[in-house]
Symmetry: C5
Subunit: 309 residues, 5 copies
């Protein structure tokens, strides 16, 4: 049997690698190319504006910037800020995007839940399908997997059905890989390096194309070994989870709003230097007044443009 040299199996990751993969279905390649090279920074990085917080957290999240309660706010920001994509559930996608369809790529978020019940046994049911995404001209679907939840059986099984549909229809799959549930809380919490690192690997093994993660927190000693005794700085932690995601492109989330633009930009720079493919910042963008949001967006974009993939 003919064997390729070791060099032929070198590690690769990021956008260029993803697109050049021989195994990529044609439709998935077409859609990923649009996200990576036709919109946003258009250099293989991703700058996604998500808006599912109204379902996940309630209107509470919009109080700091009431105009953001109206989805036209985020749509305008996505369009004028020239994001790579806007991520919306079916309700917002159908009622707001139509007249701008084609101008801004859509990531249709398929599942979600409220935070009225606590997350001890979190599970995220789907209320839209990959076929809806095709019908709406979306360029990807988004799907939350609550990694390590006591309900992980449901989480993984339902994910598997969505993955199969993505395969069938050539639809890229962006996984919100969120450690969640009483067991992860007992092992150091959802924000720990252990939790985020595990989530990154789960996304890779489950077959995501892109994974949304949170920046891992410093270790507090409650994680399982060997994480418990790791004393890595932010950069090392970020590089670790990016490595654990393998060939899955990593987007870091912004989390709660930070009023300090410079701090936000430092985060983005840090993420990109550590190998991220991009960012998916919601509240840190659309909770700012429009001019400030657009200004910060421009600076984030400029930053991403310095990290072609």
């Amino acid at each position: 049997m003919k064997r390729k040299s070791q060099e032929g199996i070198a590690a690769r990751g990021g956008a260029r690698a993803a697109l050049s993969s021989l195994s990529l279905a044609q439709g998935k390649r077409a859609r990923l190319w649009r996200l990576l090279y036709a919109h946003g920074p258009a250099n293989g990085t991703l700058m996604v504006l998500p808006l599912d917080q109204g379902l996940e957290h309630g209107p509470t999240d919009f109080f700091p910037n009431p105009p953001a309660l109206d989805t036209t706010y985020q749509l305008r920001l996505a369009l004028e800020g020239r994001y790579s994509a806007i991520a919306l559930g079916i309700g917002l996608a159908e009622k707001y995007v139509h007249e701008h369809a084609g101008e801004i790529p859509l990531i249709l978020k398929l599942n979600g839940k409220t935070n009225i019940a606590d997350d001890a046994e979190a599970t995220s049911p789907a209320f839209a399908t990959v076929e809806d995404a095709v019908r709406l001209g979306a360029d990807a679907v988004g799907y939350t997997v609550y990694v390590g939840s006591p309900r992980q059986e449901t989480e993984i099984r339902e994910y598997g059905k969505v993955r199969a549909e993505c395969e069938r229809l050539g639809m890229p799959l962006v996984v919100w890989a969120y450690p969640r549930g009483r067991d992860i809380e007992a092992k150091g919490g959802k924000g720990s390096l252990y939790a985020q690192d595990y989530a990154a690997r789960v996304a890779e093994e489950l077959g995501a194309d892109v994974v949304k993660l949170h920046e891992p927190a410093p270790e507090t000693g409650e994680s399982p070994a060997p994480y418990r005794t790791l004393r890595e700085d932010a950069q090392a932690r970020l590089r670790r989870v990016v490595r654990s995601a393998g060939r899955v492109m990593v987007l870091f989330s912004g989390g709660v709003k930070n009023d300090d633009d410079a701090a936000v930009l430092r985060k983005v720079r840090l993420y990109m230097e550590c190998g991220a493919t991009g960012v998916m910042f919601g509240r840190n963008m659309w909770l700012r007044p429009m001019d400030e949001a657009l200004a910060l967006t421009r600076r984030v974009r400029a930053l991403l443009q310095r990290h072609p993939r």
Copy 2:
């Protein structure tokens, strides 16, 4: 890429906006138009007569007005009172409406439950389908979602299947968005502004066309922040939930019967002034003697006619 001006993305809501949306399927538009402009006030507002209380609460609800136990009572009221639609489950829809089919639009309520068990883990199973609605010539389906219930996984997943069927068949979807379950009770109760405001947003993100809500109660300090410290008057609260519903048309429910006609009318006026698309009053209508019910109906209609949408 060509970008539309900011004005092109202005917020819009209500009937006119809904019907002018480019994304609206033709069948759904036809049915919504019938509800909004061919029946009832016929000015873009909605006056719906619901009758699912016999299933939801038992015959108990009919004791104050025994003739109302016979569905012909409500049907007569809907016809003579010229409502926009009557909302019925499959049993009543099949056994009572046929000889008046076409005269009064039907909203086929697909799911329901008894109140024999308490609502700590409320969930509402479907016993009819969107195809039943098509077969019966209905102009919309109704579907209850118990927002925030511990069973929200089932609630949302089953909702998603109904939504997809509505999409496939061009059927408008009216969501009874009801906060329910032990967790919402622990956070201030199902009637709070927090609860109703969240429910409104959930209906929008899940893709409802019309949402049925309750008027939010004054804050008692048991809700999560920032609601806990809000001190808004009734009008501000109503406007808030209407805003949170975005482009979903809001109907307010009447709840338990109020014997004071003037008070009922004040409520309707308040709801309409705060942006509601209409009302869905059941017991406040059909628990009145027929002549009184018709008289009140006429006054409600007159009021709605002053708020074209």
Copy 3:
């Protein structure tokens, strides 16, 4: 729009009304006609002989009359007693009815359970289908719904699938509407007027064609208001539940065996005078020696013949 006069919406019920409904599918009308006018009293009343007690209660029920353990006993009684129909599960229907198929209408009971576990969370799974009923030439299917059970989600959802199949195949649906479970026990018990009245309404809202109920017991003060304080006699209670069933035809069950023929006949007379469409007596018939059972059957039939519907 043309409006029909109030008279056009008058209440109607019973067999004649059911058959004259414009909304009745042709196959369902044909089968109901056979049950109501070609067999049994043949005057729009129903006299059904049920036999599912062997599954529901075990062979225990046959001890008072051992020959009844052999289904040929009930089949002979049904044939010679000229019942409107015999109600059997698939096992008995397939193994005993064939050579008399056509002579006696069959109501195929689709679901059931043992009483080995208690009824705190009662639910009744189906083990046969509406297609089985069609294949066996049945004229209706029977389906138990445990009203108000903690498992009501399953009860109602599974019922809904059976209802849709009945619709598709033109098969009448007889609902055993049985209040059951720990919650109804905490509210006065399954036999109370509250429970039976609620069950009657549930059957109507869910879309039954015929409902099997128990005669409601006198109020003990444990039911919810307003039932708690009702002091109605047997006739008033029966009339109430018949009214709550609306256009669904009501059959009353016989319950445990009463050795006093005259008492049984008084019950039948009472039920018919209060608006019932008929009776479904099992143990009160087939636990009697054959000659006594046939004699009582003849007297019941004679009684029903005085109440044409």
Copy 4:
């Protein structure tokens, strides 16, 4: 309407009755005939060799006779002992029977479980289908129903799907009707007359063709009335459960191994005299050395041949 005389509805049971039933599907008749008249005693009785104990109890069961761990042992016994059929799960059926297919009828056992968890909530999942049985040329399928288990909803519902498939494909259905679970234990235990008698009736009402039961134990006073006070001898108990099975053919199981051949034969004689159609003895056969097993098999067969059905 023409009525047949009472004689026309006489009770019948056993093989001849089963095969002469007008309602029997042609494929099911062909397969039952092979089992009853072409193999084994070939006189309408059944002598089935079951082998599912490795799954149900683990290799533990084979310790008394290690060669029996190899399925070729049971296959040789079935072939040389000329059994009516061998009952195997899909794994053994596919890996061992092929080269003898046609020589020995196969009953494909569709479901099973381990005994590692206790039986308080026993339920038996299927891992093969009726279509597998058709593909493998089986003459029947076997299916365990845990009668009265807290999981009886699942037990009965899943059974119903298998039954429908058997109907569709003309496949006889042998039900292992096993009382099981905490509720039956609280009512006198799975081996009681109450339990076995109920199980027999359940098998009949659910539509089995053949039922496997255990010989009921003497009453200990823990069963529900009226069983509690019955004082019947073994023969009366056996006749009772055979009667409760009605037209379903009854096979009695052998249970744990009895080293006394004469005792085993006395049991077989007793069962046949009490109306059984045959026996399904596993451990009592294949835990004996081959020559002893074959010798005992010959004596059992001789006994069955004295009871043509």
Copy 5:
């Protein structure tokens, strides 16, 4: 009827027997042949390199050899080490194998879970399908069954669906038969001879083609009888579980890494002498530096080549 002689039913196992079985579907034979005779030792033994630990245990497992976090490491090892196959989940299979497809057989692992929640009620959901395996050109699928878990109903039922798909598509089925859950822990633990022996038999009865087991531990007296009192040496224990697997080919797992190459090789020799078809060692291979891993691989292969099947 013609009967074959006893010799015709002799026990057979291993690769040659599996391939010569008349019942083997053509596609399954083709794929098994490739695994057994075209790759790896190519003498009827199997040397499989598994990589699902990132999902099952998290990135933790890669800490001792960080390069192994990159799947190209295992792929290079599998290719250069000339393994019989590499076992991967869908994520790794799609993103890493493509350019070497055909060079190294793929076993697509269909299900998995994290170890964040404990294993008291372990169940392993599928996130890929047998059709995925066909699409990717895999030569087998892998599927974990948690033997004896309180969730065994789900485990067995879902397994059954995968088995049926394998049958339909001619795909060999490798079962990771893992005793797991609180009940097995209460009976001596997942590593006991009792547990592994039961798991081997379960794999056979459920219809696996190949089973992955762990070497059984010495008895500690906590297992059920008769295991409790067995005092067998390692060889006897291994031979026992291989016998219990019958005609299913047995692969032994390596478990946690052992730094002593000689000890690893002694294990392999022991397994092969006791009748194993091969080994599936992951961490014991890819946690070594590449040159050491390749060296050890060559020695394992040499050992397997001395045990043609």
